[in-house]
């Protein structure tokens, strides 16, 4: 087959919703785009363990502590599936870590915001995981098979995370005045960064058209953002919290909520490294990696020794 016919074959699969598998021919840019997106997603899970990990030792009840631990552990698991999916495209986990640690690869900017109170555990679950689900459910049908399959598992667990977050918020909203204040304060701080999670508006999103063509993406950033806002505003109302957007208004004609202008300067600032916790998050990841080097080296050395001993034993038996 010529390159042209490889390309035709690939395009046909995409058009007919046939999954692309690791051994299939794929255009270089498709591969690059996927590596970028999947590794970014994996890094987000791993860096995302930190803001919530902050509150494990301070959770207000043993039950909440157990649920939070399980949730953060799930995120580690998601990182694992996603790194494995990316590895099928010909990049190693160590290479991806290196890209993260040198700042070449990005992760979701939302994790560069600080978790200041317990209510942030509620807001992250409800809003951040809620937004992630909106982004991720369509990815269960994304064109690259290993990614789609990883996302099926991820999405199942994310919906549990979203519920536990909302449940924390509900408990606060039904609680004392100070608990209500904690909940509202967390919503105020997390609302705008959460709706920025869907990425820049469609008219300023350079990768969207190609990703839609490749069926990596199925909906545009603005479509997903709108869907999230429509659902979340109702959930806020239900527990008596106010979404911090004075321009938020139901638009009968559109059948959607209209919302205020998003501060994209803030978004790009945080992406570029100027968020409240960018430095801390990256330093923490690097520290864990560097301080773990001797452990990884020892594990490798030991497994080599063991293998050698086994072979020796076999040789001795044979002789």
């Amino acid at each position: 087959m010529t390159v042209h016919s490889f390309q035709q074959h690939f395009d046909e699969k995409i058009d007919n919703d046939v999954a692309i598998e690791p051994r299939d021919w794929m255009p270089d840019d498709y591969r690059k785009t996927l590596i970028r997106q999947i590794s970014q997603h994996a890094h987000s899970e791993i860096v995302g363990m930190l803001p919530e990990g902050n509150w494990i030792t301070r959770a207000p009840s043993l039950r909440r502590k157990a649920v939070l631990l399980a949730k953060v552990q799930d995120e580690g698991g998601h990182g694992l599936y996603l790194y494995s999916a990316a590895e099928t495209l010909g990049i190693t986990r160590d290479e991806m870590y290196d890209q993260l640690h040198t700042g070449k690869a990005k992760y979701s900017s939302i994790f560069n915001y600080p978790t200041l109170t317990w209510a942030d555990m509620g807001a992250i679950g409800w809003l951040v995981d809620g937004a992630a689900i909106m982004n991720q459910v369509p990815l269960c049908r994304t064109s690259y098979g290993p990614y789609a399959r990883a996302m099926v598992r991820v999405c199942k667990e994310e919906s549990f995370h979203q519920r536990q977050g909302y449940e924390i918020m509900m408990a606060l909203a039904n609680g004392t005045d100070v608990q209500k204040k904690l909940a509202q304060d967390a919503l105020n701080r997390w609302w705008w960064p959460s709706i920025m999670m869907f990425g820049p508006p469609d008219d300023n999103s350079p990768n969207t058209a190609q990703s839609m063509r490749w069926r990596i993406k199925r909906f545009t950033n603005d479509e997903l953002r709108q869907k999230f806002i429509d659902v979340t505003v109702e959930q806020a109302k239900l527990i008596g919290l106010t979404v911090p957007d004075p321009d938020l208004k139901w638009n009968e004609e559109r059948g959607h909520y209209d919302y205020g202008a998003i501060d994209w300067t803030e978004f790009w600032d945080v992406v570029k490294g100027n968020g409240p916790c960018n430095k801390e998050r990256l330093e923490t990841r690097k520290k864990a990696w560097e301080e773990g080097a001797w452990v990884r080296d020892a594990a490798l050395a030991y497994s080599k020794k063991r293998k050698a001993r086994k072979e020796n034993k076999k040789d001795n038996l044979a002789a």
Binding site: G53, R58, P60, S61, L69, V72, A288, V295
Partner: protein
């Protein structure tokens, strides 16, 4: 000390050991040397926390059945005294979050800081070997609730023991650096292994009543398992015989205060609320 008080304290010893060890291990979450191990260790933290909750719930039930004048003598904590005065019953969270250090009965070993992976592995190893044999015995407790918790926990502890034994060997017999780090951690933490086998007043009373375990019977089993693993790990058993103690009587190291300051922060700053 009457039998119901001994039984309460005994249950709290077990609960506090599990809670504080789980707390320390949970500090690793997100900071592990390898992602797989981060996940494994978080799972272990969850197991310990689950065990702690079962013990606290059982302790709370015992406490709530006590006459008021006996209740008042149990804990120094003003927050708990207030609840008792108001006639409120206590739950797992009250016991974990509202007692101060002198009412905590965990051994000093479990409150020692994580430091590095070697110290963490050694601490878990000492505790896991002990827990494995301990829970095996506790399954025979005349207290059906304790026996049931022991049975459930034993499954988890069997996995913990395998995990920490494997890491002892892997790091002891890994590189020169890992060997040295393990030997140092082993030497440093050795003095905290003796308290596991000390019999507190509650231990003695409960062993006699057939509710608790005579930990002296576990010592030879612990020694044999530890010796075997150390040999395979090419590590030397520390020679020092002097042992730290006090945790079981509520005399702790400086570390516990900081653990509790963090652990109890929310309940202290926002008292009497539902979360």
């Amino acid at each position: 000390m009457n039998e119901s008080t001994s039984q309460l304290i005994y249950t709290l010893q077990l609960a506090d050991n599990a809670l504080i060890l789980g707390h320390r291990i949970s500090e690793w979450c997100g900071h592990g040397p390898v992602l797989e191990q981060d996940i494994a260790l978080t799972n272990t933290a969850l197991d310990h926390l689950g065990q702690a909750r079962s013990f606290y719930q059982h302790a709370a039930e015992q406490f709530n059945l006590m006459p008021v004048e006996v209740k008042k003598q149990q804990f120094v904590s003003p927050a708990l005294q207030q609840k008792i005065d108001k006639g409120e019953s206590l739950d797992e969270d009250d016991l974990a979050y509202l007692r101060d250090g002198w009412d905590f009965r965990n051994v000093l070993l479990v409150e020692q800081p994580n430091k590095d992976w070697a110290y963490t592995v050694v601490r878990s190893f000492f505790a896991d070997v002990f827990n494995f044999y301990f829970y095996k015995e506790l399954q025979k407790s005349k207290d059906a609730a304790l026996a049931a918790i022991a049975e459930k926990s034993l499954k988890e502890v069997t996995y913990h023991l395998r995990w920490s034994s494997e890491w002892m060997i892997r790091l002891g017999d890994g590189t020169e650096e890992s060997h040295e780090r393990m030997q140092t951690a082993l030497n440093e933490r050795w003095a905290y292994s003796g308290e596991l086998f000390e019999m507190s007043a509650a231990d003695k009373a409960m062993a006699e009543a057939g509710i608790g375990v005579d930990v002296a019977t576990i010592k030879p089993l612990w020694d044999a398992h530890v010796d075997g693993i150390l040999q395979e790990a090419t590590l030397e058993k520390p020679a020092n015989k002097w042992m730290q103690s006090g945790g079981k009587d509520g005399r702790h190291s400086e570390h516990l205060g900081y653990i509790l300051a963090e652990l109890q922060f929310m309940q202290r700053a926002y008292p009497n609320m539902e979360w």
